[in-house]
Amino acid sequence: MSPKGVGYLKVVIFCLSLFPAANLLQGALSNALGTNPVETLIRDTGDWALRFLLIGLALTPLRNLTGQAQLMRFRRMLGLFAFFYAFIHLSIYIGLDKYLYWDDILEDIIKRPFITIGMLAFLCLVPLAVTSTNGMIRRLGGRRWQKLHKSVYFIAIAGVIHFMMLVKKDLTEPLLYAFVLLLLLLARVPSIKRVTQRTAKA
């Protein structure tokens, strides 16, 4: 694909990635988020944060499978969208779900493991978002930058565990995310990676 083509595609992906947020905003303004809109907002933004994390993690195995190196050009944007949705998710938790009752929030962080782990995942996501610019990559140096960004594996695992721990009984949905994440992690195991790369070349 030409650089121009990649540019156009980036604009398309950018708009598509904003769509869930726009949809929720529209729903909130027109009172169409169901009986418990705060719950809908918090669940949906959390879902999208996880989805963007997984989509971002899917690019490398996809490149290995298809040989399409240009796939990596979209990774930064998708990662930043994961941060974007996680940020809204956390803001809604603090502002609307907890309604700025800091005593409740603090108690949650200290005493509720699923909040602790979710908060930790978000905190780890912040330096990745901050160091996502070309300038920061240069300043850190490729190696150190890569090392830092390896923490995305921890963040994705923590995010899925956060989801698994919050459901009351029905684990179907979080297990689906866990399964996809497991596949994406397995695809990075050196011996499996070699197989996929060989298939791509053949």
Binding site: S30, A32, T35, D104, E107, D108, K168, K169, D170
Partner: protein, 316 residues
């Protein structure tokens, strides 16, 4: 159209029903006036199933609650009813598979007159009352619901429980044809709940057969359900087919699912948090802000004496 037309009301019918049908017409009109096609498309028919028929009842002052009631639409489209689905919006769409007639309740265990009672006989035997109760879900949201029903104690007395009847156990129907989600094992079916006999005999404890003056919609636990307003919502078991007087404390379905998180008593208590979240505050459906959760959901005056001297942190 979102809401079905009510059956025609003859002029001889009492005011109570008339008033409620006006409410419905108002709802219809306001929806038609365009609260927006977007919402209408989203929401399932609130009257799916057989609910919606008008009931005859009295409105005792003792059970008037001078606060705004939760909208009928919200009460009937946001339901935890795992027999249909673990999604709260799905039961309203799926509940049409439940057949509420014929329906009978088996009463057994430590009582002098066990037997099987037909729902029609239950309805004939007990005068119905409207009671406006606060309803607090363990998940942290709450509603105010005008139930129609009668005190459970009225019903239990007729079976003459013996001195060995220390607890009462309740059971929901099991039939995967009518409750599609019972094909899965998300909970250990049948759904079971229990009360201590003095809790069961407290006048607040209600057997509900209707809400908003009408027969219970299926998704709200038709044809007959328990309502224990000072306990978390899951204690208020739906679509009851069995009542058993027992001597030892029965294990409820949620205790079996997670005994660390759900105790036998499950009294609403802002001081005792769920292991995964605080119970100090709640969101009243229809409001953006949070309210303080009240001890025993605001019914301390009526029920606090039942738990005198008990460590409520331990017996949660």
């Amino acid at each position: 159209m979102l809401i079905k037309r009510p059956p025609d009301i003859s002029s001889s019918e009492i005011t109570e029903e008339g008033v409620y049908h006006q409410r419905r017409k108002f709802l219809q009109q306001s929806l038609a006036l365009g609260l927006g096609a977007g919402i209408a498309a989203h929401l399932p028919d609130a009257h799916a199933g057989y609910g919606g028929e008008a009931l005859t009842f009295t409105t005792p002052d003792a059970y008037r609650l001078n606060v705004e009631k939760t909208a009928y639409k919200d009460v009937t489209t946001y339901n935890n009813f795992y027999e249909f689905s673990t999604s709260k919006y799905a039961p309203a769409r799926k509940a049409h598979t439940l057949r509420t007639r014929p329906w009978s309740i088996r009463v057994e265990g430590e009582c002098a007159k066990p037997g099987v009672v037909d729902i029609e006989d239950v309805l004939k035997r007990h005068a119905l009352e409207e009671r406006i109760y606060r309803f607090r879900c363990v998940e942290g949201w709450s509603m105010v619901i005008p139930w129609v029903g009668f005190s459970l104690s009225e019903m239990l007395k007729q079976f003459e429980p013996t001195s060995r009847a220390k607890y009462v156990m309740f059971e929901t129907l099991v039939d995967p044809e009518q409750f599609p989600n019972q094909k899965g094992r998300v909970l250990d079916w049948p759904y079971q709940e229990g009360l201590r006999i003095d809790e069961a005999m407290n006048p607040l404890t209600l057997m509900a057969v209707g809400l908003y003056g009408e027969v219970l919609p299926n998704q709200n636990g038709a044809p007959i359900r328990l309502v224990v307003p000072w306990k978390y919502g899951f204690k208020s078991i739906k679509s009851i087919v069995k009542i058993k007087f027992v001597e030892t404390m029965p294990k409820s379905t949620w205790m079996k699912a997670s005994s660390r998180e759900y105790g036998f008593y499950s009294n609403v208590n802002p001081e005792v948090s769920h292991p995964r979240w605080s119970q100090r505050r709640e969101r009243r459906i229809g409001e953006w802000g949070k309210r303080d959760t009240l001890m025993f959901n605001g019914y301390a005056e009526q029920v606090a004496h039942l738990y005198k001297g008990m460590d409520l942190q331990k017996y949660f």
